[in-house]
């Protein structure tokens, strides 16, 4: 073990690896902050760049880009309500209202600290307990994945904004969007209307860019007509001063949330198929449910930013655990990374930790340091970045439109995706005006296919005895209890709220 560790240190402390780390952190942050550019796209585009590099610097570059791109997405999510990556959609819910209240600097600072802690926590877990945790994920079958998707869908209720029914409708529309494309079992096209390009499904990133960015541009245009020229109104521009660091009381309040959300993110990251986007939603929902003041969520609650950001960065380390130990990618980005590993001659599994231990631990070390470095760089650039919010909207809007178009196009080099982005932009604008939240729609379109695919696999596997199959799977029972608890928690909360004479969110919704 000592030899492996020394070898790892020697592999890591080279000019090439350190340069790859620095470039990866900075580039990931920039890519993540650009609406439409996802971590998976950045990693995919960088794999050819790593061909000419050694395995350690090549993989360190990829893991650094991965984690800092997930963090970078939160900067624009907080400041201009435009999540740079799908993983930051939950961050925008409270980050943007914080900016509107003149706390943009603090929102970015909080997301930086939470991302750093979540990412570092997952890196330590990756380093210490990866074989143990990976073993748990091996015990998951389709039934557990189906229940996990159902658990994720229970979040829609709490994402619904002021009108629960409209929020649920958005979620169901999202589930239907997830149905578009070839059916996975029968290969029959569903809801494609004869368009060949739709057979591979709706482009999620383009949909999301439209829903979040273009709809925001249209809302900004409407506000500009009403006389508002910047994201911040003139009277609160002065509140942008100060430190990006939260004060001691705020830190004390958010630390338990960061801790729990990091654990949630890590566990979700380990489960194949559930990425940083799902991790952030689940953690956000959990933080809201645990909070004594759930009514403040969605209105600029610092805990909401902390929960979403710590979880989505904790997912990155979690997703690397089954990738390195079992060769099972925990997310879309790590699936792409697996290709990069193969090219470098790194075969996941036992040998990777024994024969190629030096390289593997150097990569893990790089991931750990990338998370810390990301926090330091993030805090340093938080203040200049916050100046984005006082840039006139007349300048920001065309830039967002241009970036959204190139971001939608670059994923598949498809013009159809760009048209789709525009269509969903208008749909998002009208929906937001009518009180339909956009977040449940995105969540539904992510979790819908996962739920359907696994449910249909369960039907085949259980051979008509679903109850018997279910009762023989203790993890399923635990997950089922979690789903039921998540469904009925709002009912109980309403009951206790009424009994206590409180006036929480649920009463307001009525």
């Amino acid at each position: 073990m000592r030899e492996i560790f020394l070898s790892a240190l020697m592999q890591f402390f080279t000019v090439e690896t350190i340069t790859a780390l620095l470039v990866g952190v900075f580039a990931g942050m920039v890519v993540g902050a650009l609406p439409g550019l996802s971590a998976s796209m950045a990693v995919a585009l960088l794999i050819p760049v790593t061909f000419k590099m050694g395995p350690t610097p090549g993989m360190v570059l990829l893991v650094s880009v991965y984690t800092s791109a997930i963090y970078g997405g939160s900067i624009t999510a907080c400041l201009i309500h435009t999540p740079g990556t799908p993983a930051s959609a939950a961050t925008a819910i409270d980050g943007f209202p914080m900016t509107q209240k003149g706390q943009g600097l603090k929102a970015v600072g909080m997301s930086t600290i939470a991302s750093m802690i979540g990412g570092t926590f997952s890196a330590i877990a990756l380093l210490l307990i990866s074989p143990l945790l990976a073993r748990v994920s091996l015990m998951f079958s389709s039934l557990e994945y189906f229940l996990l998707a159902c658990f994720g869908l229970t979040i829609i209720g709490s994402m619904s904004g002021e009108n629960m029914v409209k929020g649920l409708m958005s979620g169901v529309v999202g589930l239907l969007l997830g149905c578009v494309g070839l059916d996975l079992v029968t290969a029959v096209p569903r809801f494609t209307f004869g368009v060949l390009a739709l057979e591979s499904g709706i482009a999620l990133i383009a949909t999301m860019i439209g829903m979040f960015s273009i709809s925001q541009v249209l809302i900004s245009v409407e506000e500009m007509r009403a006389g508002k020229t910047t994201i911040l109104s003139d009277d609160i521009k002065g509140l942008m001063k100060g430190s990006p660091l939260p004060n001691r009381q705020e830190m004390k309040r958010v630390m338990p949330t960061i801790g729990i959300s990091s654990v949630i993110g890590l566990l979700i990251g380990i489960l194949p198929g559930a990425g940083a986007d799902i991790g952030s939603w689940v953690a956000y929902n959990n933080a809201k449910k645990r909070s004594k003041h759930p009514e403040t969520f969605g209105k600029g609650e610092i805990e909401g930013v902390a929960a979403a950001e710590s979880a989505n960065n904790a997912v990155t380390g979690g997703a690397l655990i089954p990738l390195l130990t079992l060769g099972i990618p925990g997310s879309g980005t790590t699936a792409i990374m697996l290709g990069g590993m193969m090219i470098q001659g790194l075969i996941p599994g036992h040998d990777l930790f024994v024969r190629q231990g030096g390289i593997t631990y150097a990569i893990i070390m790089g991931f750990l340091i990338a998370n810390i470095l990301m926090g330091v760089v993030g805090l340093l650039v938080a203040k200049p970045v916050t100046k984005l919010t006082v840039t006139p909207m007349a300048i920001l809007c065309p830039i967002i439109i241009g970036l959204s178009a190139i971001g939608s196009f670059a994923i598949q080099n498809s013009n159809l995706d760009v048209y789709m982005m525009v269509f969903f932009g208008l749909a998002g604008y009208i929906g937001r005006k009518l009180g339909f939240s956009t977040a449940p729609l995105v969540l539904g379109s992510i979790l819908g296919p996962m739920a359907e695919k696994n449910w249909r696999q369960v039907i085949v596997i259980c051979r008509g005895d679903l109850l018997g199959y279910f009762l023989h799977r203790p993890i399923s029972i635990v997950l089922f209890i979690m789903v039921v608890a998540a469904l009925f928690t709002p009912v109980f909360m309403r009951y206790f709220n009424k009994k206590a004479g409180g006036n929480g969110l649920l009463e307001e919704e009525e």
Binding site: V165, L176, T186, R190, G402, A405, F409, V422, Y429, E452
Partner: protein, 143 residues
């Protein structure tokens, strides 16, 4: 019928039409492929009906609550949307850079950004940034 309830009714009619169209599209699907979308559509049908009923009760005839989608409020955003659509069409036909330059200058002129050199500077800086990042670094084929 109050203005707000009428707005909800129109929204509901749109959803009913959408549900009918999509249900029709499931008719020829194999049963295993149709179950999930049909279940979603039935759920959407129920929720849509609840939404309409809810707003009819909440906003009775005497309610003074105004709708949010008035011509006055959506006129400018719709114009902006048409502009975005034209931009995407130009992107498809003449390429990203010429289309983006036209869109950025046009948008900033329409939104009264001054002075003119600021518009040119921002547009040029944007084009250079996109060229460096997407064309040189990420090798996205947009030229």
């Amino acid at each position: 019928m109050s203005h707000k309830a009428r707005e909800t009714l129109f929204t509901g009619i749109f959803f009913y039409a959408l549900i009918a169209l999509l249900l029709y599209k499931t008719v020829n699907l194999p049963s295993s492929a149709a179950v999930f979308p049909r279940a979603c559509l039935v759920l959407l049908l129920l929720l849509n009906t609840i939404m309409i009923a809810q707003d009819f009760i909440k906003y009775p005839k005497s309610s003074q609550e105004k709708g949010v989608l008035t011509w006055k409020t959506v006129r400018t955003p719709l114009l902006a949307f048409v502009g975005i659509f034209v931009y995407v069409f130009l992107f498809d036909k003449i390429g990203y850079f010429p289309a983006s330059i036209i869109m950025m200058i046009g948008f900033m002129l329409a939104l009264k950004v001054k002075p003119w050199w600021k518009i040119l500077l921002i547009t040029a800086a944007y084009a250079v940034f996109i060229y460096l990042l997407f064309v040189l670094w990420l090798h996205v084929r947009i030229l």
